[in-house]
Symmetry: D2
Subunit: 350 residues, 4 copies
């Protein structure tokens, strides 16, 4: 029987993207679409890009409207998923695009979000070693943040293979849709076009503990991450430039003849069976334009033998693989469907 | 049996978009992909957004490489389709995205392109009154230009119903992918970002005779079109603002009480069965962002009772509905498949 | 004695641009800078682009803070200038960047703004025939709207010379700074980048009566204007594409041999002594990028002999010549200073 | 007597920007403007943003056309300055915007440019400790690269004060004008808008040895720089995100109470007398939009106590402070003029 799927927060950017993907997903049926301030409006008024759903009426986001579905996507502001999820059926699959259930350490949550920790759900990043098994059959999934998706997938092979030291430096550029549709002057087109600016510098961004958690888990030791996000003048996309010092041993190999090939082999092996990660051929570099609207992660790596660092760069669409696509992929994994169902690897480019 | 499809000009923007659409088309199989300067390169080197086809090798564009397919898409510079098409099998379906076979009047061709007219093929705009029937079973199709697609679909109901006078004024903004991937300084990002500029002003753009041809055919009398294309700082999209003086009779109704509703009714009726044309609800206006990557045509109309003009605005993706999507839709029509196969009505937005 | 200048609305886009221009104006001294919601903040917090004024503290906008200056620029929301201006000294020069005093016909004001008409001030467009004399020594000036500046300067020579019929069609694209810094979802970078959309279609935009007023005044008869503004994905700039049917007499000349030259001569004569209007050489077209940050108006004209229309295209920076530059130029004219003082004709390009 | 200034390479982006600045420089007179492929064209045809110089005719770039000037700016492709400079008068001030004379180590030059080293000229970065004195009265100046300007000015106080370890990590985003006006498909607007992509990853970018040279000189020991440049979808601007591990001693202070204030005090002292460097108030971050067209360098610093790194971010306009503005500033320094003559600290924003 075709699973019936509800989308809470359907008036936002993540919610709209989930709906875009579901309309071409052959194995699901769209049920309730809900919102808060936009409740009672037609979906066509808030998501003009989805004409096929234009006549749907947004219902109020509540346990009442969301119950009775096989799958519930929550695309809500941080902190709103936890109380709502408690009221949903235990056997429904609840996929949370918010941060509420991503972190394992309650102290991390408290420090970065200020409230009490609600718990930890299976983490919706099937490509992370060991994670796919945890998702199959799960009834609760926490979708990763957009930056952690891009950064973790670029760096995990290096940490899994012990190539680099446990101090990563990440500078990532994000399209402005990452901030959602709530208006603010600094997000106006007039201010962002032609301009790049960092924010949350110095360890303050809320995705920092999630990055540390992911990389530490793979490395088997605590990895610190110096993370600087920047706002780029584009609607979508994340370009993550990640680096870490090569370990003396790895450096010896990697920096000498054939070293880059050895590093490359590590990444090829790590990504071998992944339908959505594409390690680019030598000489080509990821671009966010090439993955627009797709679930693809472009990755490329380089060894800087002078600075003795490994540089790993990845590009994703922050709303697709970084949020809604990751959510649908995780749903597929949980339901035992092919992970790529309803997802495209093709970007809309140029 | 699944038709085998070749794409000539697969290294260009139109060719790449055709391939993007075909990869999600359930009723076709991709055969030869050909190019000229990029022949022998991997498709992944020139169309990084299509990882699933990355290992395909581009063959030289020639009758030899294109023969033996059920469908051949030609996405070539103007003037190159005609000699090539002559050498292809008569019963293969040849869909030309170039201008060679769009115009009916050899004098128009001569004046705007300078060479001898190659002929006229069935025009790949199924939404044009009477055109759908002409496409069914056709073995040669001339896909409309991107501007003519946007303009014709916005204005034809007004001319079909005799609402306006035969002098249309069109100002259209196009994303810069419309100029193709051949480099020129005026198309560099540094020059186009933050800038708008017109070109081909005063009747010089090659799409002018096609506009005149389409609207005159619907109107049953010669319609002149004052057409000003402008280059807009966006990769894709056409926004066409079209207007014409209301006929005295039509104006009387349209400008009085209920007149706008009467005009609206004409457009609703004209678009009633069209899967890709969406007349927006009152108060909402087309935006190119909302149709990115989709085959949708957003249309809205307004009556200016002071200036006594009807204003019709449409938005399309110039590479999808304006080129590759129109081509695939026409192929579907010719092959007797549902027109929407392989095409999405959903835009990638925001 | 150097005039002391106050700027009300100094936290907005127009106010910030006025300050940018004044800091390089050798003949004025900046006095009070005022705002409403941002009162008591440092200017550096709201206008990061003006480091030289960063330590200035914004005062509350009021007659009290603005009195005692030789010149007062009002860059306030529509409707707020009139009550404030009444309380300022009669012999101070008050330059209003808002709409309050632009229109001559109280019925126009009532219809488009809904409130009572406050009066009409000398119109701050020195290039308009006869207007320069009216500005010299004036103590109250109404700066034109950004669209009317671009459109009027592109079309007035044609109407002054009787070349065209009194029905103009204008489609103009504006950068999103034209909407000011008040946040709205439709103005977010994520929504405007990559997208073009019209607004106020069908005669509803508030600049329509100002356009009609200007062109009618020059033509000596009522000119209707079909005006469609569009929002373009760029921070600044207006590209106005204006056209009108050539009068039979003018058409005879203009469309025959040498006709375009005759039209061109009319424009050359009209602009001959204007320091800020640049009629481009034949074959070159205005671009908003080329006038960024400058007070220049680029203009080009073409005759469409098929459609029998004259097309006039202009490009300005909406915040400079379209608002703040026009205001400073008018101040210069009123004070008897060279009009170009503090204003550059050079654009920041690419 | 007013110095007469020639600009070689006046058809390029750097050359055009030098001319824009010189037209508002009160202490110079523009002499020959030269180019190669555009020789004999009007400047108005290639630099439409400079109407005041539109009628100037570009002469061929050669010693013959450049001799006889007091100042010669060379804005030429790398490798072309050296042979030309040898033929110019020894007492003329030659300011080279190219790379030919920036590097001190011939081996660096050979490795990154492949040809023989031409020599080393005084380095045109007056803000670098000790450098201002070297420029006064100089007759040959090598203007820094755009990235080295942004990075060096952000990091030098930390190295001068011994705050950080000699391994810097830099990720910088540049507007596409940095690549100049020579067309390439990857620089087309259609490809760069909406897209970010790195290049020269792993130590391959030619600005890397210049970065190492500058920071090592200030630090008094060899500093390695892991440098990743990225291409951002904007015409102008560089945002440089630079970081290095805090030294144990510095870390102890910096990471405890009041540590960030201590670091900040170091930067305040280093920038105290610099007219163009603006250390932003706490809580505000550099943005390229705020410095558009200006010679300002916005800087902000943060201490990441978790990752034990100092993060320094700077924003400049790559064509102004990063090239042409730095060149004019250096000219002023050499001629004994106030450094700010002809240069604005105000950005054109929004």
């Amino acid at each position: 029987m075709t699973p019936r799927v509800a989308v809470a927060g359907a008036s936002g950017y993540a919610g709209g993207e989930i709906l875009r993907l579901l309309t071409s997903h052959p194995g699901t049926e769209i049920g309730a679409v809900t919102a808060h301030r936009s409740a009672d409006r037609h979906l066509g008024d808030v998501q003009a890009q989805l004409p096929g759903l234009a006549d749907r009426v947004l219902e109020e986001t509540s346990a009442r409207t969301l119950r009775g579905h096989d799958v519930v996507f929550l695309a809500l502001p941080h902190g709103q998923s936890a109380p709502l999820a408690r009221e949903l059926e235990p056997d429904a699959l609840v996929v949370d695009c918010g941060a509420d259930f991503r972190l394992r350490d309650p102290a991390d949550w408290k420090r970065f979000y200020g409230s009490e920790h609600a718990g930890t759900w299976p983490y919706g990043l099937p490509e992370l070693p060991g994670q796919r098994a945890e998702l199959r059959g799960a009834s609760r999934i926490a979708v990763p943040g957009c930056y952690p998706t891009a950064v973790t997938l670029a760096l995990f092979p290096a940490y899994a293979a012990g190539l680099v030291e446990p101090e990563a430096v990440v500078v990532a550029a994000s399209g402005t849709s990452g901030a959602g549709p709530a208006p603010g002057q600094h997000l106006l087109g007039a201010e962002v076009m032609g301009s790049m600016t960092p924010y949350g510098v110095g360890g303050g961004h809320r995705h920092t503990p999630e990055l540390t958690q992911n990389l530490s888990r793979v490395a088997g030791e605590r990895v610190t991450v110096s993370f600087t996000p920047t706002l780029a003048p584009m609607p979508r996309g994340i370009l993550a430039t990640c680096s870490a010092r090569l370990r003396p041993g790895a450096a010896a190999g990697a920096c000498g003849d054939g070293g880059e090939e050895a590093v490359r082999a590590v990444f090829e092996a790590a990504y071998a069976d992944e339908p959505f990660i594409r390690l680019l051929p030598p000489g080509r570099w990821p671009s966010t334009g090439a993955v627009l609207g797709s679930n693809t992660v472009q990755v490329q790596v380089a060894v800087d033998s002078e600075a003795r660092r490994l540089i790993c760069v990845s590009a994703i669409d922050n709303l697709t693989k970084g949020t809604a696509g990751g959510a649908v992929q995780s749903m597929n994994a949980a339901l035992g469907l092919p992970e790529w169902l309803g997802l495209s690897t093709n970007g809309v480019a140029p």
